[in-house]
């Protein structure tokens, strides 16, 4: 497995095509290789009623291998921030850098999982994961191997040939996670990936995601409106506030994994984060 992973990693590096640029960057900042830097990021929407400030001066560093949760009420711009990092939206002020390189457009080094699974209905599980590898530069045998490993990773062995409509919501989202990971990206962005699932499936998949992250050590940024989910998964929880979208507070979660939701320390941190939403001016509709 690890042998293939390193091969995939190599090919990803080939794909970024700017390894020379990277090495000069590394000379400037030798310690910070695989990290994500968000500097003075602001975004405005021109609206009929005036200018809407979606994001105001966001500053955030995510270290390589770190799991950061971004939590906030709807409308605080957290999903917009994720789309900027993904490169799906280039209209913003400030800079976002990954691995020393400024983000411009999408890249296979930045995977994303959306709230909806967004699987292609005419492809089966295997082929849907293969969608991510089409431009990866791997040969057919490497692709097959990578797909098989990631199906195993998300626990869908036996469902390789099932189509999206034959899968439950939770299983479809597992496929979406496998598709996001199969390129071995430097960072995996998760945009409320469990938001549309029922409570039981959601908590199950949160556990699965924690296991996958602990095993793969890929940097992950999770956007959610669920405080418990944010605390359960994150090394740090970034609390965002709406109008304009900005970072209110960053809470550390110095707890070992796997975490237990009934651990007093877990409850203390969760309540601490929840208090941010109870205060006047904060959004009261943060769900739990």
């Amino acid at each position: 497995m690890s042998e293939l992973l390193s091969r995939v990693q190599e090919s990803n590096e080939r794909n970024t095509k700017q390894s020379s640029k990277r090495s000069t960057q590394q000379n400037v900042e030798p310690q910070r290789t695989n990290d994500l830097q968000i500097r003075h990021v602001s975004k405005n929407y021109a609206q009929p009623g005036g200018n809407l400030e979606v994001l105001a001066d966001i500053e955030l560093d995510v270290a390589a291998g770190e799991f950061v949760s971004v939590v906030g009420a709807s409308g605080c711009g957290k999903s917009t921030l994720l789309r900027l990092i993904a490169g799906l939206d280039a209209e913003f002020d400030g800079t976002i850098r990954l691995d020393g390189q400024t983000v411009a457009g999408t890249s296979l080094a930045r995977g994303i999982v959306f709230q909806e699974h967004r699987l292609f209905p005419w492809l089966n599980v295997e082929q849907n994961i293969g969608v991510a590898l089409r431009n990866s530069g791997l040969d057919a045998a490497q692709k097959r191997l990578a797909i098989a490993e990631h199906i195993e990773l998300v626990g869908l062995g036996g469902f390789e040939h099932a189509y999206a409509h034959q899968l439950s919501g939770g299983m479809a989202q597992r496929v979406a996670i496998a598709r996001g990971l199969v390129n071995r990206p430097s960072v995996l962005l998760l945009d409320e990936p469990f938001g549309a699932l029922d409570a039981l499936t959601r908590s199950r998949l949160q556990g699965e995601l924690q296991r996958i992250w602990a095993r793969e050590r890929i940097t992950m940024v999770l956007v959610t409106h669920d405080v418990e989910e944010a605390v359960f998964l994150g090394d740090r929880v970034v609390v965002m506030q709406p109008r304009p979208g900005r970072v209110k507070r960053v809470v550390d979660v110095p707890m070992a994994r796997p975490r237990n939701r009934s651990d007093p320390e877990f409850i203390r941190i969760r309540d601490d984060v929840l208090r941010e939403f109870a205060e006047p001016g904060g959004a009261a509709d943060a769900s739990l």
């Binding site: 993904a86 799906l88 999408t106 890249s107 296979l108 995977g111 994303i112 959306f114 909806e116 967004r118 292609f120 209905p121 005419w122 089966n124 969608v131 991510a132 089409r134 431009n135 626990g155 869908l156 062995g157 036996g158 469902f159 040939h161 099932a162 189509y163 999206a164 409509h165 034959q166 899968l167 439950s168 919501g169 939770g170 299983m171 549309a196 699932l197 029922d198 039981l200 499936t201 199950r204």
Partner: protein, 288 residues
Amino acid sequence: MAHAADFELTPPAIDADRAGHTKPTRTPTSTSTSTSTSTAPRRWRGAVLPLLALAVWWGVSATDISRSGLLVSPQQVVHTGIEQIASGALWRALSASLARELTGFALGTAGGLVLGGLLGFSRLAERVLGPSFNTFKQISLFAWIPLISVWFGLGDAAKVVFLSLAALLPVVAHVSDGIRNVSPELLEVARVYRYTRWQVVVRVVLPAALPSVFTGIYLALIYSWLATLGAEYLLVAGSGIGNMLIDGSEQFRMDLVLFGIVVIGIVGWALNASARLLERRLFAHRSR
């Protein structure tokens, strides 16, 4: 609410999701087909009315209520049918009609694919041709018959032009709609994985539009068959199943007319059934 629907639609999938992902004992495809089994009696309910009508017809013609010649007995229709088949008259008429039908269908569909593709893919074409096409669509096909008969006469050429027009309209409408209605979420997935323009067209837009394209072609097949009869009634020259009906009516031979109607019904049903069968084969794995 959405979850409740999920439970009903894919029970085996949900089970697997809950039960800790041990290897599924049944494949998802085999389990998802476990729908209704005892619908056989229900299927024959549709035959009740026609059989009843046949019995009444038989009874009425047997009891000598009407001797006007407007009503012939079923036996006589069957007899005429056997005669028409044996003499080869039916086959000549039917093959002439079907040849025209298929020629018009093929020409109209081919033109419709090109024009629909143009309208779907090109904004410019949509802006320049779209309004004209939408206006053109509103004009009843039969309104063109006088013009067609002046330009192309009453023979095969005129009929094929008319049939092509009948087949063209639904194909254009469904192809362009299918292409334009490709989900933006799936297009975004293609962007995330850096699909080229060509890859987006071939790997996302065309497969996504395919069911709609097929619906257009299916309608073209039905419309062109209906138009075949219209053309044979209105552009009276040469042979065909429609001409057979006209001859029967002119010679006051109701048996011939009724036999013709039965044949037309059977052909229409066969076209419809074969298209449905093909559709089911092609899109068996899709939910919608």
